[in-house]
């Protein structure tokens, strides 16, 4: 398997708080890598460092064997044209309609005719089952719909690499499962390499090929979901089991 993403000894601090400490990681072509961890353990920071929305304090990041941290803005923007990024809150441009949101990357990076753009927009909306939302403003959409449109905007450029920042957070279990299945389906049909930051176990079980657990700024465990779940480490057992709830029920 080709290594698409290679991270070597990345560290990132905010003041005296060391969020990432000497993280090294590789993601293979076509792989779905899930990043687990408690809130505030630096999962999103790791994702943002990879796409250089944040600059790490030290370390190296390679995407397709290209040194991301050594790139100038033009080279970086050229590389980013192959990225899709689904933000936690979907980050739809709220002054634009759904159609304009979806057309935005197409107009900026490709020379499609208006008819070709229209076909692409309708095709991705069909993929996320939201054809009727085409002329709506983001403020008229529910949380789940926003996530779907955000996903549609990310995949409209046929990205090679997809980054998901908590794709199911804040959604009800049914919508959460639907989004997870949609991500899996898109990954299979578009053959993308993905990194998914989440603490939703159901989502991870549906889409993960491999997973890592971040704790205290380091990778404490790497492997399949079942490897992580079967670990005897107290932190991992606590994370994946409902022991806390059982303990609470027993005490009461």
């Amino acid at each position: 398997m080709n290594k698409v993403i290679e991270i070597k000894n990345i560290s990132k601090s905010f003041g005296s708080l060391n969020v990432l400490r000497d993280i090294s990681l590789t993601v293979d072509e076509g792989e779905n890598m899930v990043v687990f961890g408690q809130s505030g353990t630096g999962k999103s920071v790791l994702l943002k460092c990879i796409v250089r929305l944040m600059e790490p304090d030290s370390g190296e990041i390679f995407i397709d064997n290209k040194d991301v941290l050594a790139m100038d803005l033009k080279q970086l923007n050229d590389l980013r044209k192959d990225f899709g990024f689904l933000f936690q809150g979907a980050a739809l441009y709220d002054s634009m309609t759904v159609r304009e949101n979806l057309e935005f990357p197409l107009i900026r990076h490709f020379d499609f005719t208006p008819e070709e753009r229209e076909t692409k927009v309708k095709s991705v909306l069909e993929k996320v089952s939201l054809e009727e939302a085409i002329d709506k403003m983001p403020s008229e959409l529910s949380g789940g719909m926003k996530k779907r449109i955000g996903l549609a905007r990310s995949i409209i450029i046929d990205p090679k690499l997809m980054f998901y920042d908590e794709p199911t957070t804040g959604l009800d279990p049914i919508t959460s499962k639907e989004i997870s299945l949609l991500i899996l389906e898109l990954q299979k049909s578009l053959k993308m390499t993905s990194i998914i930051v989440t603490h939703d176990l159901l989502c991870a079980e549906i889409i993960a090929d491999r997973a890592i657990m971040l704790n205290d700024g380091v990778i404490m465990k790497e492997g399949s979901i079942s490897d992580l779940k079967s670990s005897q480490d107290p932190f991992l057992r606590n994370f994946f089991s409902n022991e806390i709830i059982q303990e609470h029920n027993r005490r009461n």
Binding site: N77, R80, Q88, Y93
Partner: protein, 268 residues
């Protein structure tokens, strides 16, 4: 004991404010350079600039119209008794005209523009920052500074002089009505007096300095919004501080520019 603790807290709060002030000055300087570096290179984002000029002009037009009219009217009514006292009633239209063209219209329009536009830009970009829309733009390979910031600064810089020229004419209308009310002067006499007294040497510096004022409004609003943090609280703060800082900077720059323009285009 508690007195010394209070003093330490006050001194550290002052240090923080001073530190924030210098960070802002450095940030504005950096923004200015980035703007200059990016505006001359493609893509030129003409469509965005046109859209912002349209929006900013239309947004500000009603309020500057009302203010311009009232300023012209009030300044004439205030100056009339003074001119009568000195036996210089005939010079009233000229004196009012020069005051409006050289100082009142440019500064008042700029301050209203700052209040209306700087806060709007601060809130809009601040909201885009905290909801990760700017990050989304950046990660999709689009330069958000150029698309969102440079276009707004450019639009502000060029729309404010146009608004100022418009306000000058509206203020003249207010002044004429006041002159008719207090002095029973004919329209022809009023126009002749204004044209005789107000020269291009008065109009050029007045309008030229509004380019600088427009730039200040654009850059301060954009800087405050683009660097907003701390969620919705940060957005509110960005909008408020954008107005305060840009208004203050307009007045400080006006002080400097008055001296420069009087040197370049002497009033006598």
């Amino acid at each position: 004991m508690s007195g010394s603790k209070n003093k330490t807290t006050q001194s550290s709060a002052f240090e923080k404010k001073l530190n924030d002030f210098f960070i802002m000055i450095a940030g504005l300087w950096q923004f200015q350079w980035q703007f200059v570096k990016q505006i001359f290179f493609p893509p030129y984002e003409i469509e965005q600039i046109r859209k912002h000029m349209d929006e900013l002009g239309i947004k500000t037009l009603p309020i500057v119209s009302v203010t311009g009219f009232i300023i012209g009217l009030v300044i004439t009514m205030q100056m009339h008794p003074v001119m009568v006292r000195f036996g210089a009633e005939a010079f009233l239209p000229g004196a009012v005209g020069i005051s409006i063209v050289r100082e009142l219209a440019p500064v008042i329009t700029a301050l209203i523009f700052a209040g209306r536009v700087s806060s709007g830009i601060g809130a809009e970009l601040g909201s885009m920052r905290v909801t990760e829309q700017i990050d989304a733009m950046e990660v999709s390979g689009v330069n958000p500074f150029k698309y969102l910031v440079s276009t707004r600064i450019f639009a502000c810089t060029f729309i404010l002089p146009i608004l100022t020229v418009y306000v000058i004419f509206i203020a003249f209308l207010g002044a004429y009505i006041a002159v008719v009310l207090v002095q029973n002067m004919t329209y022809q006499y009023f126009i002749d007096s204004v044209i005789k007294s107000v020269t291009f040497g008065d109009a050029i510096p007045g309008v030229l300095k509004t380019f600088a004022f427009g730039f200040i409004v654009g850059i301060v609003g954009s800087y405050k919004g683009y660097t907003a943090t701390n969620g919705t609280e940060g957005v509110g703060k960005a909008a408020t501080t954008a107005v305060v800082v840009s208004s203050l900077m307009i007045l400080i720059f006006d002080m400097v520019l008055v001296k420069v323009t009087l040197w370049l285009w002497p009033a006598v």
